[in-house]
């Protein structure tokens, strides 16, 4: 993503202003007016006016953003080093919150569960999304219909689809999925979300089902970006379908796969509501076998009112996401150089 392309634009501006060389920076230097010619002082005025106009464009969004997003982010970094319940005065405690969460069994299992969840969800979602993209990139009847059907669970509201899943994956034998296991696969019925052994499996299956359509769309765009010539050349060399996939499609999709992996991993670390819906009891309490990082933050903050500990665990989440993002930046640079 080309974020800032300053140099190009500065060139445009100096051309458009028909000003002598000197560049944009000169405008802001406190230079005495009398030494400038008329044209230049008019241009300074114009610049000032444009800056004011620009600020008026940005202000409505930026004020809201600065006060309600930037501010809290800074506060999060401060709170992580304090002991606070939100009412009594804040007390600085240094690194105590970090040492205490890392000796908290619930925090450690939340971290472990989040990692386990990511390890299973990322590759299987990736493979499913790639498979779907290849399947739905074929010239077949009803292609649009199948794409829509695959994508819809992603936008469907979680509460509704999770409610259906909870009924389909009912721990009792009457559930549709357990019926399928018993009658078609002649297997033992499973307890799904009701058992600590299978609760993560249920959550992973649900995540894959709900989100694979989203990543399929990204893969479809990647597939459509591969030049036909490559396939024709491969076919001329006598490559079969499997070889074309292995030696043309997969290598060409490498940047897409990298991007999808990063996006998926970050989204996995932010998981909360799926766990709440599938594994939360009637009061929404999740036990240790399904506790994830964001759930731990939520519980420490809004049930136990230990805001310092909540913020410390939030910083752990931030660091993990930051590392993944940095890997992304590095990777994108590599692909840009290719």
């Amino acid at each position: 993503m080309p974020l800032l392309s300053q140099s190009r634009r500065e060139e445009d501006v100096s051309k458009a202003d028909r000003r002598p060389a000197g560049g944009q920076g000169a405008v802001y230097l406190p230079c005495p007016i009398e030494s400038e010619d008329n044209m230049n002082s008019a241009s300074i005025k114009r610049k000032r006016r444009q800056t004011l106009v620009a600020y008026s464009f940005i202000a409505p969004n930026f004020l809201g953003f600065a006060v309600f997003t930037l501010g809290p982010i800074i506060l999060a970094f401060i709170m992580a080093f304090t002991e606070w319940d939100g009412n009594n005065p804040m007390k600085f405690v240094g690194l105590l919150n970090f040492t205490s969460i890392f000796s908290d069994d619930r925090f450690l299992s939340s971290l472990r569960n989040t990692v386990v969840y990511s390890i299973f969800t990322v590759p299987f979602t990736l493979i499913a999304a790639l498979g779907l993209a290849i399947l739905l990139n074929q010239k077949i009847k009803g292609r649009t219909f199948f794409r829509t059907v695959t994508f819809f669970p992603y936008v469907a509201s979680l509460v509704a689809v999770a409610a259906v899943w909870n009924m389909l994956f009912t721990p009792s034998e009457e559930g549709l999925i357990n019926q399928l296991l018993i009658n078609v696969f002649h297997a033992e019925p499973l307890k799904w979300a009701a058992s600590p052994k299978t609760v993560m499996l249920t959550i992973v299956l649900f995540s894959i089902w709900k989100n694979m359509g989203y990543y399929m769309v990204i893969y479809l765009a990647g597939l459509q970006g591969i030049s036909e010539d490559l396939y024709e050349a491969a076919a001329l060399d006598g490559a079969g379908a499997w070889q074309r996939f292995w030696y043309v499609t997969l290598p060409q999709l490498k940047p897409t796969t990298f991007f999808v992996t990063i996006m998926l991993t970050i989204s996995c670390f932010k998981i909360y509501d799926i766990v709440y819906m599938l594994a939360g009891g009637s009061n929404g309490v999740v036990n240790k076998s399904a506790m994830v990082l964001v759930y731990y933050i939520y519980e420490e903050a809004f049930r136990n009112w230990k805001l310092g500990r909540a913020s410390a665990s939030a910083l752990v989440l931030f660091l993990i996401v930051l590392v993944i993002t940095l890997i992304q930046f590095k990777g994108e640079k590599n692909y840009a150089n290719d």
């Binding site: 993503m1 399947l135 077949i140 936008v155 909360y272 009637s282 939030a314």
Partner: protein, 278 residues
């Protein structure tokens, strides 16, 4: 020659078998939801499951409105979604215009602030944000939910990416004609950016409509709750009212389905710009 057409036939059979499997996996939960919403509770876990119900229990769709204040929840959700979507579109496209087409001091620093926060998950700062809003007296208000969703960095980023693709010469020409920047924004940029605006609209709509954790943290008064929270609460309290739960779920899905069908191609466009963060 014959083996080639035979190969093609086999390929087609495999493709269509996979498509049928896909359709079953994707659609069965929704079909089950609709059929279950028309059943009596005792009939839902009858073996084998009855996909065709000769006597649909339409009353589930009437009862749910009186069993919980579903109309109130729906009204709250519609209100929040519309306000957030409008605010998001207006303020982000406004700010994005300055970032893409105007020169001013501090532009790159300000934009960097937006970019940097895109990488910070909301879950990292949701706690201090709540404490801050509470200190302003905004806990348990709809205004808090609006503020939460309306000023996203994502909107500014998406709109700016689109405006960058519109040639600067267009704005320059209008400036020489004496148009003010506000007029250029309203008369030239906005009409040109319909695709990006549609993308932003559907993303904001779906996100706000489906938002769960935000309303869960902020809204405590029953009459202020949104559809998602309201339905979840109903599920927790009456977990055996299967028919009603499914009816409420179907109702909550309909608006998203309609908006999604109407604006689907913009949704896909938004994802493929690679700028989307959930």
């Amino acid at each position: 020659m014959e083996s080639k057409s035979q190969n093609r036939l086999i390929k087609n059979i495999i493709i269509y078998a996979l498509l049928i499997l896909l359709a079953v996996i994707m659609l069965v939960p929704f079909i089950w939801m609709i059929t279950a919403s028309l059943k009596m509770n005792k009939d839902i876990f009858v073996i084998p499951y009855q996909w065709w119900n000769p006597e649909p229990k339409w009353s589930n769709y009437l009862d749910i409105w009186t069993k919980i204040p579903l109309a109130k929840y729906a009204l709250n959700t519609v209100k929040l979604t519309i306000i957030v979507t409008i605010l998001q579109i207006v303020t982000s496209s406004f700010a994005a215009y300055a970032f893409a087409k105007l020169q001013f001091k501090g532009r790159d620093i300000l934009f960097l602030a937006y970019i940097a926060t895109i990488a910070v998950p909301w879950q990292v700062y949701m706690v201090p944000q709540f404490i801050f809003m509470r200190s302003l007296g905004l806990a348990d208000t709809h205004l808090a939910i609006i503020i939460l969703q309306a000023f996203s960095a994502f909107g500014v980023f998406l709109m700016r990416q689109f405006y960058e693709g519109i040639p600067d010469s267009l704005c320059e020409a209008a400036r020489i004609d004496g148009m003010s920047e506000y007029k250029i924004y309203a008369k030239i940029m906005l009409p040109l950016s319909k695709p990006a605006l549609s993308t932003l609209t559907i993303f904001t709509f779906v996100n706000t409509w489906n938002d769960f954790l935000g309303p869960l943290i902020y809204l405590t008064t029953d009459s202020k709750k949104t559809l998602q929270i309201g339905i979840k609460m109903f599920i927790s309290q009456y977990s055996a009212e299967y028919g009603l739960i499914m009816a409420a779920s179907v109702i909550s899905l309909i608006p998203v389905l309609i908006v999604f069908m109407a604006l689907q191609k913009y949704f896909v466009a938004g994802i493929t710009t690679g700028a989307v963060k959930g």
